[in-house]
Amino acid sequence: MEKRVVFDNRWLPYLLLAPQLLVTFVFFFWPAGQAIYQSAFIPDPFGLKTQFVGLGNFEYLFGNRYYRESFLTTAVFSVLVTVSAMSFALWLAVLADRVIKGSSAYRTLLIWPYAVAPAIAGVLWLFMFNPFTGIIAWMLAQLGYTWNHTLDGGQAMALVVAASAWKQISYNFLFFLAGLQAIPKSVIEAAAIDGASFWRRFRTIVFPLLSPTTFFLLVVNIIYAFFDTFGVIHTITKGGPEQSTTILVYKVFSDGFVGQDLGSSAAQSVILLGLVGILTVVQFRYIERRVHY
């Protein structure tokens, strides 16, 4: 049923919406407009003047090997973060759902990582994996495996993926647990009586009934991987070694603020914005359609 509130006063709804609209305008539309505007200019080497180049910045970007590689890096990074954060969280939620006693204690413990700021999380993982002083790096060395993510691009990627996923697991866990608990117990019991094993019940009953939650988390996690992982990457690898962990949002930062190429940075922001928009639309159009029952 549709819920509708009717306001007698024509201006009240706008007044109530005003703070939210203001925030959205100041922190989203205005910067987005600025980015689009700036993406059409290049500054001179001294930053004193800017010159209009139209789509020149975009042309340059797509011709640039590093930028194209950053696309691939982003794809690999976000798929890995999303898949590992979601599957690990689902696994934990299934376990917690089976425990009746003490589940609130587990829940509280599992929520903690979410309260940790990205940069702190990054530093935490950096400490553990520091090639010279980190405890896990040391343990790996004992096992005969050399850990140095400052030299090895694969290891660097693994580390930022682990740190980013770790931070997001709590969030996913909460939603998955709530989703699991919303499935009527008797439906699961009916399936057990129908002869389905635990795994079969999970595959044919639990997972399909969880799909609205899964879809929601998919959207949230991809956006998280695209944007919110900046702090983690900045503290752990700074995009290196050799750009192996430079995802698009990090490149916006490093080209714009480190490289001072504001025009290119703005163009990248515009591309990123468009990309996320397209991804979200695709998710809603094609995946969401299949999750309703």
């Binding site: 008797s186 439906v187 057990a192 002869g195």
Partner: protein, 340 residues
């Protein structure tokens, strides 16, 4: 098809025991109704038979096997839940076919069996629908269909009709009974509704506070309740309970003991002409019968059931009650039935 035997079944949650040792033998094809007030442990007992709850002590036999340690799917049972527990994301067909697919029944046979069940339950037009597109009664039938396609040895029902309106409930009650007769499957049916219990049961297990107070055929239980609880629970309105013996030539009852008499075993006569007099408080005319409520001189409340066409006595009048002393039952202080 299978017999079921319950031997000294107990169930505890932590330190609280909720089922205090139940014994019952159920023969093949019998329709057994477990009836009792809310919280008496009916569902718990049924779920132990289903394998959804562990058994704290005692043995459950289904057929010639002790099933205590078996998973639900190994017990050859099917269950209909109070909320139907249909799979919301599957069509009616898939709901019914689910168990068969798991059992690796060939596709053609799945088709045939589901079609047969759908025909029996008049669900044919709805096979492609999702559960949310069905009415309560239709959902109930799908739950039934899911149970029967698997051809289990035992049907378990946990209050399957309590979410339906009164009229549909009566109709489905008859259908369930007919279906069970036709298939000849042993059935265990839980309800708190004594009318449902009386009409469905071959034999009923009357439970109270985790104990089986009486096991027997509905009419035997009605005529010969083993305890005061059963006398009060089975029958509507319940048996009248009096704290004074009204039979001629008897002394006072033992402390705490009571006598009971069914409302229909009392006739209205002229004051002084019966065993005892009572003052009419009010009448409830129900059409076919009338219930006359009143109080005896000793202060016991009584209900008398009389034919609906008899003229109603006015409120406040004094009337005599004629009762066949042989119809009067006695119960001791602990509520057990005593002879005399």
């Amino acid at each position: 098809m299978a017999e079921i035997k319950l031997e000294a079944i107990r169930k505890s949650y932590g330190r609280t025991e909720v089922i205090h040792g139940i014994d019952a033998e159920i023969s093949d094809g019998e329709f057994i109704v477990i009836v009792g007030p809310s919280g008496c442990g009916k569902s718990t007992l049924l779920r132990m038979v289903a394998g959804l709850e562990t058994i704290t002590s005692g043995d459950i036999h289904i057929g010639d096997r002790v099933v205590n340690k078996l998973e639900p799917r190994e017990r050859d049972i099917a269950m209909v839940f109070q909320n139907y527990a249909l799979y919301p994301h599957m069509s009616v067909f898939d709901n019914m076919a689910y168990g068969l697919k798991i059992a690796n029944v060939p596709k053609a046979e799945i088709q045939a069996r589901v079609a047969e069940a759908a025909r029996m339950l008049e669900l044919e037009p709805y096979l492609d629908r999702k559960p949310r597109q069905l009415s309560g009664g239709q959902r109930q039938r799908v739950a039934m269909g899911r149970a029967i396609v698997r051809k289990p040895a035992v049907f378990l029902f946990d209050e399957p009709l309590s979410n339906l309106d009164a009229k549909l409930r009566v109709q489905m009650r008859l259908e369930i009974k007919a279906l069970q007769r036709k298939l000849g499957v042993t059935a265990l049916y839980v309800t708190h509704d004594q009318v449902e219990a009386m009409t469905l049961a071959d034999r009923m297990i009357v439970m109270n506070g985790g104990v089986a107070e009486q096991i027997g055929a509905p009419l035997d239980v009605y005529a010969n309740p083993a305890t005061l609880f059963v006398a009060g629970f089975i029958g509507s309105p319940p048996m009248n309970v009096l704290s004074h013996d009204i039979r001629p030539g008897r002394g006072a009852l033992d402390p705490g003991a009571v006598i009971g008499v069914r409302p229909e075993h009392i006739d209205l006569v002229a004051p002084g002409a019966g065993l005892i007099d009572f003052d009419v408080a009010f009448c409830e005319p129900l059409g076919a019968e009338t219930l006359v409520h009143g109080v005896t001189a000793a202060g016991d409340k009584l209900v008398v059931r009389i034919d609906g066409e008899v003229k109603l006595p006015a409120d406040g009048t004094r009337i005599g009650l004629s009762i066949d002393p042989a119809r009067i039952l006695t119960f001791d202080a602990s509520g057990r039935r005593t002879e005399t």
